[in-house]
Amino acid sequence: MIRLTDEPIRIDDLMSATADPAAGATVVFVGMTRDNNEGRSVERLEYEAYPGMAEKELERIAEEASQRWPIARVAIVHRTGVVPIGEASVAIAASSGHRGDAFDAARFTIDRLKEVVPIWKKEFFEGGAVWIGDQKGEEGVWKNEGGDAPSE
């Protein structure tokens, strides 16, 4: 199951999607909006995706995880739009025969997702809002070095 949704994420859906009689372990990662970030009091997050490409990239990550670890199934759901405090923006589940592989595959999947999947996060905090990653010199997959501009 690879899905973008603007509805609340239900963890049970990921458990069902990764269920397999040969699986002895499932690791689920859930990323949620927390009430603070870098000293700011966060009010909510808002996610924007490039839908077609985001889904392709998620499929690719799931495929890569399946090749690197003997995992039974992988599920990834990412929410878009407003995500209030305490609610999930992303959830990943990986099931496997043994727990080591499930942990490693889940960790790989979320780390890779955060690097390459075209989904952006806008943080609304007390007194303002900011697109996360926008001001930092973070590494893109490909960056135009000459075009760097000062932070706004």
């Binding site: 490039y50 490409m53 075209p118 697109w131 996360i132 990653g133 926008d134 893109g140």
Partner: protein, 81 residues
């Protein structure tokens, strides 16, 4: 030839729109296009690192564009620890 440019996140907000069409010379590469956009499009002023995707795939700087290509300007993705 014509390509379609997609704006997301901060770029979309600065541009005040989600996309635009652009006439480019045959043989134009992704890098050349990005340089031109940084120079000509007001929304790109002050933009930091940007990756490009052509037809929903990340591309190399020297990739040549074709008529009808969908070019997405990709600011740093959400990241986070």
């Amino acid at each position: 030839m014509t390509v379609r440019i997609l704006f997301f996140a901060s770029l979309r907000e600065r541009a005040g729109r989600k996309e635009m069409s652009l006439e480019v010379e045959p043989g134009t590469t992704a890098a050349t296009l990005l340089d031109r956009l940084r120079r000509d499009v007001p929304a790109m002023a002050g933009a930091g690192r940007i990756s490009l995707a052509v037809n929903e795939e990340y591309c190399e700087p020297d990739q040549t564009l074709h008529d009808g290509d969908e070019i997405a300007l990709i600011p740093p993705v959400s990241g986070g620890r």
